[in-house]
Amino acid sequence: MADTLLKVDGLQAWYGESHILHGIGFEIARGELVTLLGRNGAGKTTTLKSVMGIVEKRTGSVTFDGRETVGLPSDQIARLGLAYCPEERGIFSSLNVEENLLLPPVVRPGGMSLAEIYQLFPNLMERRRSQGTKLSGGEQQMLAIGRILRTGASLLLLDEPTEGLAPVIVQRIGDIIHQLKGRGFTILLVEQNFHFAATVADRHYVMEDGRVVDMIASADVQQNIGKLQAYLGV
């Protein structure tokens, strides 16, 4: 690919003794929005965590902007310009909304300002003095996304941002992800909801049992709908 931002090759990962990823490979170009699809337990979250260095026991190669990151601790990986929004959202209960937003340090120039983030998420502005975990599920998700926009990271790893949310909120989050792509963020999105994924993404990688088994461009989703449904068991 012309301008590859993230390239994963032969990535294996373990939780203690259990071998979870068996040689994952995929790439993402700068400015692209790519999803990882797959059933429960396929290893999507583990993939994000391994890219981020949160899962430490890993081998293979993950290059970001040409730099090898396997072997680096997660704080150094983050400082290269990757930002992670976890599946469980990870809102800190001992911090209020604004403290949560301001927590991740700015790692590079060019991130969004607090004012811009509040513009994107007006609810957060209203509730900026509330305890982070007192927000509704949708608001917490917005906080978890908003939090990583300030840091200047160019690649966002979003793990199932629509999980467990009402359809209106899902739509809202779809809009936001669209806007973020428009601003030039590169996004790796984990999704189970592929109808949602299809509306926002450029390409889809499909995972099964710790392997990438297929890649489908958004334009080809309609032709491959039967195959996709089989992969995802829907």
């Binding site: 704080d75 150094q76 001992s94 301001l102 790692v107 840091t151």
Partner: protein
């Protein structure tokens, strides 16, 4: 009434020490048994600096915590960081061993009997209902200020936000680009520095001796059990409160003065096992 006010002096030490223990426990998951030894090192540092170099009390108040805090940083990097993945009990045993080493070396070098440290402020202050020795009044005020400053630092500053967040979820904080291991080292250094600061304040009141901290820290463990370690303000309030209780006991039933805190602990365990400010177990 006078005894009650003096109880606040003990309360000041309980509050400062239990605060440090709580901060360290939050970040490191270790009950720092070395806390008493580090309190003693603070007092000794002040005493030695005065005796050898003529460093005045006020300078020691700043220098001693820095020196002892740095020693704490070395201990963390050398030893403590190796046991974070283990059961809490190992941290307790390790820091107990560290305390034995430190106290043993001080006893070996300077013997067990203490040496006095001259009070930097003399005279008394008329509080209306009693004349309180001015230095003791200073200790209470200073300890209160230090505790509140610590509270402010943790609850209202950026560094404090890192600490609180890393106490909750260190992995995620690290994945945001914060060097959590360094934050842990720093926390230990600060907690230890706080203990040493309490030690400097205590030097003119207690005899400066190798075991001055051990006896205190055993009482502080009871204070920590009573208050629970979940809340910073809780530690402060519990510490001063128990000092007052002790002072009152001295007035009404002196023989029980040094056991009353343990009795309170027993009652709290009966009534509210998680501690006054603790979350459920």
């Amino acid at each position: 009434m006078a005894q009650v006010a003096l109880g606040l002096v003990n309360g000041a030490f309980y509050a400062m020490l239990s605060l440090g223990l709580a901060v360290i426990f939050g970040m490191l998951n270790v009950i720092n048994f070395t806390h008493g030894a580090q309190f003693m090192m603070g007092a000794f540092a002040a005493w030695l600096m005065l005796g050898i170099l003529g460093v005045p009390f006020w300078a020691s108040l700043v220098l001693a915590p820095i020196i002892v805090g740095l020693i704490g940083v070395v201990l963390e990097k050398l030893l403590l960081k190796r046991i974070y993945h283990l059961d809490h009990l190992y941290g307790f045993l390790l820091t107990f061993g560290m305390a034995l080493i430190i106290e043993g070396m001080f006893q070996w070098k300077w013997g067990s009997s203490g040496a006095p440290y001259p009070a930097p402020i003399t005279g008394g202050t008329d509080l209306g209902f009693m004349i309180m020795p001015s230095y003791r009044l200073f200790v209470v005020v200073a300890a209160l200020a230090i505790c509140l400053a610590t509270w402010y630092g943790i609850e209202r500053t950026k560094l404090g936000a890192y600490l609180r967040a890393a106490t909750e979820n260190p992995t995620l904080v690290r994945a945001f680009g914060i060097n959590v291991p360094r934050l842990i080292t720093l926390t230990y250094g600060l907690g230890v520095g706080l203990a040493a600061l309490a030690g400097v304040l205590a030097a003119p009141i207690m005899q400066v001796s190798p075991l001055m901290g051990t006896n205190l820290v055993l009482v502080v463990f009871a204070v920590v059990v009573i208050g629970g370690m979940g809340s910073i303000m809780g530690s402060i309030v519990t510490g001063f409160g128990l000092g007052l209780v002790e002072g009152l006991t001295k007035v009404y039933y002196p023989p029980a003065a040094n056991t009353v805190i343990f009795v309170v602990m027993a009652i709290v365990l009966l009534v509210k096992p998680a501690g006054l400010f603790g979350q459920a177990k």
